[in-house]
Amino acid sequence: MLLEVKNLTKSYAGPDGDTPVLRGVDLSLDQGETLALTGESGSGKSTLLHLISGLDLPGGGEIMLAGKDVARMDDTARAELRRNTVGVIFQQFNLIPSMTVAANIGFHARLAGRPDVAHEAALSEALGLAEHLQKFPEQLSGGQQQRVAIARTLAARPALVLADEPTGNLDEGTAAEVIDQMQALVSQAGSALMMVTHSTALAARMGRQVHLSQGRLA
């Protein structure tokens, strides 16, 4: 088992006291498995992803990832987890604007200390980015920028890819194309994929689907 989440809770402090976002989530994911996480806005999908990737800390419960409890890790250990085990694809791409497309693609892998130029080139080719490598992110369209973000994550060969509405900014046709490419590459790398999406069509392309409603898995 790559990921096992047990009784996960999370609340955010607000002016009217704590607002619970996750109310005891249980979830598991195997190596190489793909999972779509759906749910209405505010249901806690992004929060769950942030907790699994160690970007945020849970209020309670357990997140066992590659045999380690993320909830009990300190800041440095969680940074190491993100560097070596998890790759996050954000809806807003989060590319480094001052670096070229090529440098962005290789960045996560270099940060993790395992650069592989041939692999990066193959990913660029597969995602149709080969002719844009020397451009800067602002010179690309939204779809192209999202492909760069996907390539960056996959180039680092993480065991778990977490994608937070990666096609939220793209039109339907482009979104389907990007997801297909991502799925193929994740499968090729043997990584597990957990993707947050609103789209039932995109969710249907994943191996398994779970629905989050009011902080609980339906």
Binding site: H50, S53, L55, D56, D75, T76, A79, E80, L81, R82, R83, N84, V88, F90, N94, L95, I96, P97, S98, M99, A103, F107, H108, R110, L111, A112, G113, F136, E138, S141, G142
Partner: protein, 797 residues
């Protein structure tokens, strides 16, 4: 990981080269002005130390003549025989190729350790010094002396500037004198030596600290320079702070991404700190180099100033001293830490999932403005307390600093208030938009405008001080140089003959009797004058009795200069002891600008009674036709240099005065230039975030050329308002300089005059500088491709 992190951070600067240049040049300029001033101070202090070390000033007590200028050789022998461990010194000046060289003769056998020849780079054996009659001289003097004297001349940079050091016998020969100037007292004296009053009652023992007069007097001058350097540094720091703040804000997104991809916060903050340290080293190095060039250019004028004001001689050539370039690098680091610490702290505290933001830097909240307002108020209170309650130069400068910083912090709120008033009165929609948009720009430009405010206020303050000083000084020269001609006799016999020769034709003859002495526990000059119409009509007093000159003429009173009055805490009506057992009431206090030493003026009769051995050799004369008098005196046998026209002295004095303030004027211009640069860099760095603000106006019908023109006008309006606000601040600064700092530093207070035309010129200059600075960013804006403006609406930026 480190390499990848560094490459990401560096990529920002690589893509924003202008921002990098702004940061580096801001820091380099700030460091340059500071380290330039420090280089000057360091060189001057080294010169004072070298000069003082020869005579052990500041370390050993000395015996100096009670009156007159010399100690008889017999007195020295008498002291040695009585067991006193004293070492003779002969001092004097000789002319060398149109300049003066200080000749110092010491006795290496009796000089206490640490004085005499020990200052030399390679101290000779006493035998070599004594037997061969070798002269060690500062390189410039050595060159001039070679061939002029029989002794071997060795150039030694350890000797003070314009000075030659030699055996006391060689010096006496060179100066053609057989007496001594002073005696250095060894710290350890044998038990049971007789009291000084018993052996040499005419000599005065001067404490080690009292002797270091030059150092004490010039401290204030150097503090003034340091304060100016610090002001320039603060102005430069505003640029650096703004640039670093913007750069960190722009990289918030990158920081979030780096952390999301697994870079630990500590590593990230360390890398950012390392990045800043590298910038500090680069900019510090450039700054120190620039400072060296600035100091090299200004040093000759500073040397002239110090010589003119204090008679202190410093080297006109600059040497690279480790203390100041290390200080320069240190200040570059300190500046970077001050400018970057806030931004680093915010990055360190930024939650991982925070919005990347990016424009917060340029959009200060109302709460920030309130905090700035409170800080400004607190600083104003500190300034008022320091200036009204405290005493001392440091406190005066602290008050001044608080006043300037308080005003700078209050500037954004004041500008926003003024712009809001303009907006409320605007009729057309375009004017309303212009004022509202200008108001929106204030937070982003506030640091540059603060720099402009400080520079303009400093300019107004210092120019008001200098111009007030000039007016007062010219008036003072007219008063003090009332005689038509000044005559210098060769000796007392010739003086008496001249006086008799002139008596029938001259309206008034004024012999000038003078002796160096100590009054009110400090070195002073005592003058004896023949009181007549010239003194009564021309010499005014800052404060005095109605019949002050009459009382002086009758030998019943003395008049003193302001320096002595303030230093000794004396004023009209108090008594001054002019000789043992002779206290005289002070009838008047006169202004004496440019003179650091206390002066007391007595009647000729009283002076001659106290110093019967001194006869006048100098005269001032009032005469109907001075050209005729000059011709007659030349026929009488006087050489041309012995007859000096008062106009020549006035011109010389004004020349010294003008050079005195060359340094201040140069620093003034440099500081204002730095402020102009701050505006340019702020506008350029803001240009990137201006596009989203201006795109809606463009979409609604304003052309890009219109936008460029309005951008230029906006900079001009903001600069103009800032300079208008700088006028009252500058006048406050002038008042503090004239009424507080000047009194503390030099011992005299100057009346304050205002010069509206000068301020108008400054405003014009400042506005032109702002317009020039805004020209390039405005031009860039006017040429922004429509595609860039369109991106604002397509959510693809």
């Amino acid at each position: 990981m480190i390499r990848a992190g560094l490459s990401a951070l560096w990529s920002h600067w690589w893509r924003s080269k202008l921002q990098l240049m702004t940061l580096l040049s801001g820091l380099a300029l700030a460091t340059a002005l500071w380290s330039g001033v420090q280089a000057i101070n360091s060189e001057a202090r080294a010169s004072y130390d070298a000069a003082a070390a020869v005579l052990g000033e500041g370390r050993f007590d000395q015996l100096v003549p009670g009156s007159g200028e010399s100690i008889a050789l017999a007195t020295y022998i008498k002291l040695r025989r009585a067991g006193w461990q004293v070492s003779p010194v002969v001092e004097g000046e000789i002319g060398l190729d149109g300049t003066r060289a200080r000749i110092v003769g010491v006795d290496p056998l009796t000089a206490p350790g640490g004085s005499g020849t020990s200052v030399l780079t390679a101290p000779p054996e006493p035998q070599e010094f004594l037997g061969d009659g070798v002269i060690f001289a500062h390189p410039g003097v050595a060159e001039a002396l070679t061939g002029r004297v029989n002794a071997r001349v060795v150039a030694d940079p350890g000797v003070a500037p314009d000075t030659a050091l030699m055996d006391v016998g060689v010096a006496a020969q060179l100066l053609e004198r057989s007496d001594l100037s002073r005696l250095i007292i060894a710290p350890d004296q044998p038990m049971g030596v007789p009291a000084l009053s018993a052996v040499a009652p005419d000599l005065i023992r001067q404490g080690a600290q009292d002797g270091a007069e030059v150092g004490r007097l010039t401290d204030s001058f150097h503090l003034n320079l340091t304060a100016f350097g610090l002001l320039a540094f603060v102005v430069g720091l505003f640029i650096v702070h703004g640039t670093i703040g913007l750069a960190f804000e722009q990289r918030r997104g990158m920081v979030r991404t780096l952390r999301a991809l697994g870079m630990p916060l500590k590593t990230l903050v360390s890398l950012l700190a390392l990045e800043m340290a590298v910038f500090a080293v680069i900019a510090g190095g450039v700054g120190v180099l620039l400072g060296y060039l600035i100091a090299g250019a200004l040093l000759p004028d500073v040397a002239a100033t110090l010589e003119g004001l204090y008679g202190a001689q410093i080297s006109g050539a600059l040497r690279l001293r480790p203390d100041w370039w290390l200080t320069g690098m240190g200040i570059a680091f300190a500046g970077t830490v001050i400018a970057a610490s806030g931004a680093l702290w915010r990055i360190a505290r930024m939650p991982l999932l925070a919005s990347p933001g990016g424009r917060a830097w340029a959009v200060a909240s109302g709460q920030t403005r309130r905090w700035l307002g409170f800080a400004a108020l607190a600083l104003a209170l500190v300034a008022a307390s320091a200036l009204s309650l405290g005493q001392g130069l440091l406190l005066a400068f602290a008050g001044l600093g608080a006043l300037l910083m308080g005003a700078a912090l209050a500037l954004p709120a004041l500008l926003i208030g003024l712009l809001a008033m303009a907006e409320a009165r605007a009729h057309s929609i375009r004017a309303q938009w212009f004022w509202a948009d200008t108001r929106q720009q204030v937070p982003g430009l506030s640091l540059a405008l603060m720099a402009l405010l400080l520079a303009a206020a400093a300019n107004i303050g210092v120019s008001t001080m200098v111009s007030s000083f000039r007016l007062t000084f010219v008036d003072f020269l007219d008063q003090r140089l009332a005689s038509d001609l000044y005559i210098q006799a060769e000796d007392e016999r010739q003086a008496a003959e001249i006086e008799a020769f002139l008596a029938p034709a001259a309206q008034e003859i004024m012999p000038l009797l003078y002796v160096d002495t100590r009054l009110a526990d400090a070195p002073a000059e005592l003058f004896g004058v023949r009181v007549g119409a010239t003194y009564r009509d021309n010499w005014g007093f800052l404060d005095g009795t109605d019949d002050a000159w009459q009382a002086v003429a009758q030998g019943e009173a003395v008049v003193i200069n302001e320096q002595m009055a303030r230093r000794a805490g004396l004023w009209v009506g108090d008594d001054l002891t002019v000789a043992p057992g002779l206290p005289l009431p002070i009838a008047g206090v006169f202004g004496d600008y440019g003179n650091p030493v206390g002066q007391a003026v007595l009647s000729e009769d009283v002076f001659l009674r106290l110093h019967p051995d001194i006869r006048p050799t100098r005269f001032g004369i009032r005469i109907a036709d001075k050209d005729e008098a000059r011709a007659a005196l030349q026929d009488f046998g006087l050489k041309d240099p012995q007859i000096i026209d008062q106009q020549v002295i006035k011109d010389f004095s004004l020349g010294v005065f003008e050079r005195t303030f060359t340094v201040t004027a140069a620093l003034n211009v440099l500081t204002l230039s730095v402020a102009g640069f701050a505006i340019l860099t702020s506008l350029l760095t803001l240009a990137a975030i201006r596009v989203p603000q201006l795109a809606p106006a463009w979409a609604m019908g304003l052309t890009r050329a219109d936008l460029g023109r309005l951008e230029l006008l906006r900079a001009v309006v903001l600069a103009f308002l800032t300079i208008i606000l700088a006028v009252p601040l500058g006048l406050m600064l002038a008042w503090v300089l004239l009424a507080v700092v000047n009194v503390e530093a030099f011992g005299w207070r100057l009346p304050m005059f205002t010069f509206p035309l000068d301020y108008a010129k400054l405003a014009l200059f400042g506005v032109l500088a702002a317009a020039l600075a805004a020209l390039w960013p405005a031009r860039r804006l006017a040429r922004t491709p429509p595609a860039d403006l369109l991106k604002v609406f397509s959510n693809e930026r």
